[in-house]
């Protein structure tokens, strides 16, 4: 059903590196001219291949900065980030990123937007067209392939952005609060769509959010971050089996995990 690049789960992990992402004492300081702002104190964590990990924290805790560094869009001031054993110094082709805003190019159609990475990577567009249409079909956007972004709702734009991030079949998907600008109902819908794609394509995922429920619902692990100094204060495993559906949110265990995470965030104001 899905196009040429989609062979059985294939990660570019070197032997001896069971973790796909490793962050080692990562520190980030921004120079604002007159003063220095410490965005990240010292962060160390790893993500196993095939895991979905949420980074949970209040705004201003440096979680987005951390994600941008994993994506190679920013460089750490100290420490290093490795993907599949090699140090990240620039954006990588085995990494896809979703931003807070869908960031669709307004002059392109939905299909043109989904194929945008292919064009930038100078791959043959024709070979990826069917894959793009299949991806759009999976997120129920097949009928909108020829529409312009201005004709879509916020939720539909993010659906298109998911397809764009997956079009070149990256093994690692980085998501920077991708649904935070959407209303609660659309957000739940998109979380389910994301989980569905997830279970289907087996990527490794790093998901930044400030929503506790979202983090617990989607992830295998939740890393809790606290601000000033920015660091990871807890690493919680989420035991729910996959495939999951929305009903897991009704269980007492789910509510308990949420309460526990809320307490952890609350203890580090």
């Amino acid at each position: 059903m899905i196009g040429p690049g989609d062979r059985p789960v294939q990660h570019e992990t070197e032997p001896g590196h069971p973790s796909q992402i490793e962050a080692i004492r990562v520190k980030k300081i921004y120079n604002t001219g007159t003063s220095q702002v410490e965005a990240l104190e010292s962060v160390t964590f790893s993500v196993a291949s095939g895991d979905f990990v949420a980074i949970l924290g209040p705004s201003g805790c440096g979680k987005s900065t951390l994600l941008m560094m994993v994506g190679g869009l920013e460089l750490p001031t100290e420490g290093e980030i490795r993907i599949g054993g090699s140090r990240v110094t620039a954006p990588r082709l085995d990494t896809g990123i979703m931003f807070q805003d869908a960031t669709l190019l307004p002059w392109k159609t939905v299909l043109g937007n989904v194929l945008f990475p292919i064009r930038m990577q100078r791959r043959p567009i024709a070979e990826y067209r069917q894959r793009a249409l299949d991806l759009l079909h999976t997120v129920k956007m097949a009928d909108f392939a020829d529409k312009k972004p201005a004709q879509l709702s916020g939720g539909m734009r993010q659906r298109a952005a998911i397809c764009r991030a997956l079009i070149y079949n990256p093994s690692l998907l980085l998501m920077d609060e991708p649904f935070s600008a959407l209303d609660a109902l659309t957000r739940d819908e998109l979380n389910e769509a994301l989980l569905d794609l997830w279970q289907r394509y087996h990527k490794t995922g790093l998901f930044v959010t400030h929503s506790i429920r979202e983090a617990v619902f989607l992830s295998d692990r939740v890393l809790v971050m606290a601000p000033r100094p920015s660091r990871i204060i807890a690493d919680v495993r989420i035991p729910f089996p996959r495939p999951r559906d929305a009903s897991v949110q009704e269980t007492a265990e789910f509510t308990g995990l949420c309460a526990m995470l809320r307490a952890k965030i609350g203890s580090h104001p």
Partner: protein, 260 residues
């Protein structure tokens, strides 16, 4: 079948929208014609529309045509040169901080200079031939384009640049596929302003000193009290302006449809 129907209804809508302005023009022309005839207005003061129209069928039509080509050619070549120079300048300003700091304030400052008043200086420096009017047209067209384009290149949404970088786009690709398309509406706004200014620049140059061109013809006809010829030359000047403007609108349309 369906697409034909859609097309036809769009065409009908377009025609319907054209009706009110056409009616306005028709009434103005009728009132003009009637006033001139009924009030016996002297032809040297205000010729009737039909008199001006008849001129295009007379021997003087070729005279007008003869004087249209130099004006149009100077305006278009100046306009085209200005577009190229403005694109290069805007690109340089956007990518070099030093150039930006050194040049941009002057571009903004020169905006307030009434550039039409500088026409005599160009004649003084470059003579009374093609060169002075061509350079002057380039000069007046350059500013609106470069300022609009620079603004547009700065308006590019930073997230879009980040997205392009994240999928491995090079700097050139970012310029070509992100910054340039984001700047396009600004670019065409500036270009449309410049399109009309190119003709104004050339005609002013022709007013000052020239032996051909529509500006020359208007002055010549005026000095001979040949008001119908003067009016006819002005009509052709308006049509030339519309043609250049229309070409820009068409170029914008084609560029936009190519982007998607």
């Amino acid at each position: 079948m369906n697409s034909v129907r859609v097309w036809r209804s769009a065409a009908i809508r377009h025609i319907r929208r054209a009706v009110p302005p056409l009616l306005t023009a028709a009434s103005v022309l009728v009132i003009w014609e009637l006033s001139v005839r009924l009030l016996h207005v002297r032809e040297a003061l205000l010729p009737a529309p039909t008199r001006i129209a008849m001129l295009f069928a007379s021997a003087e039509a070729s005279l007008i045509f003869q004087h249209t080509l130099p004006t149009l050619w100077q305006a278009v070549s100046g306009f085209g040169t200005a577009i190229v120079l403005a694109v290069l300048t805007a690109g340089a300003i956007t990518y070099s901080r030093v150039l930006n700091e050194a040049i941009y304030p002057y571009l903004i400052g020169l905006q307030v200079v009434p550039k039409m008043a500088l026409a005599p200086i160009f004649v003084l420096w470059l003579g009374i031939g093609f060169a002075s009017r061509f350079v002057f047209a380039t000069f007046v067209c350059f500013f609106p384009i470069v300022i609009a384009l620079t603004t547009g290149l700065r308006e590019t949404r930073p997230e879009a640049v980040l997205l392009a970088r994240s999928v491995g786009a090079s700097r050139i690709q970012i310029l070509r596929h992100i910054r340039f398309p984001f700047a396009l509406p600004y670019f065409f706004t500036g270009t449309k302003i410049a399109a009309t200014m190119s003709l104004i620049g050339v005609v002013i140059g022709e007013f000052i000193t020239s032996d051909k061109g529509l500006g020359f013809l208007i002055l010549y006809a005026g000095s001979h009290s040949n008001t119908p010829l003067m009016m006819a030359a002005i009509v052709v000047l308006c049509l030339a302006g519309l043609a250049i403007y229309g070409a820009v609108v068409l170029a914008e349309h084609l560029t936009r449809s190519r982007l998607s």
